[in-house]
Symmetry: C2
Subunit: 116 residues, 2 copies
């Protein structure tokens, strides 16, 4: 990676319950790209896929600073978001943006220092 600070990064697992519009892949990509910008991260690329059966979406924004991913289950109102950022990028700012955009009734963040 580009940064050698130790530990390499902070990983936040963000679980969203009671969220809406979880079947809109284009909107989810837009939200995750904006979340990366909010955190001060640099986007290398993105790939999103919508499943035809349930409308669930799986997507990733690959970053110079690691990654942000989302996997959704519209039928459960559930989204699993990962924000793993190294260096100076601020993962909580990315999580704040995603939470505001998806308006869950309940959200949990689990923070894990990677490489420590």
């Amino acid at each position: 990676m580009t940064h050698s600070a130790h530990p390499p990064g902070l990983h936040i697992l963000l679980d969203l319950h009671g969220a809406r519009d979880l079947d809109d892949a284009a909107r989810l990509e837009s939200i995750l790209r904006a979340a990366a910008r909010a955190a001060g991260a640099r986007v290398l690329g993105a790939r999103f896929h919508r499943f035809g059966d349930t409308g669930g979406v799986t997507g990733v924004v690959l970053l110079a600073d690691s990654h942000i991913t989302v996997h959704t289950w519209p039928e459960l109102g559930f989204a699993a978001v990962d924000v793993f950022l190294c260096g100076a990028a601020q993962p909580d700012l990315a999580c704040d943006h995603v939470e505001r955009a998806l308006s869950p009734t309940r959200a949990t963040r689990t923070r894990i220092a990677r490489g420590s």
Copy 2:
């Protein structure tokens, strides 16, 4: 997503210390694709990037069953791998494959049930 079983999935954070050949993006992509197959997961696509300064690699294999990612710091001998799989796929089998391929001197797995 394609599976509606609750909780949606098991996420394993695999940290590898003392690993080698962490600057070879093509090899890492091959390892992660094989890990997905070992776990019984279906690959939708992949994207890998090697940084010119340190040789670190950031990469993702996007799955119908969620994702496998890797971020490496060759200068530290450190790799952060994520295996998040839902449905019938078996994330520990993917981790076993990655560990065998990268031969770390120390490995830790943190297991987190998502959406429970």
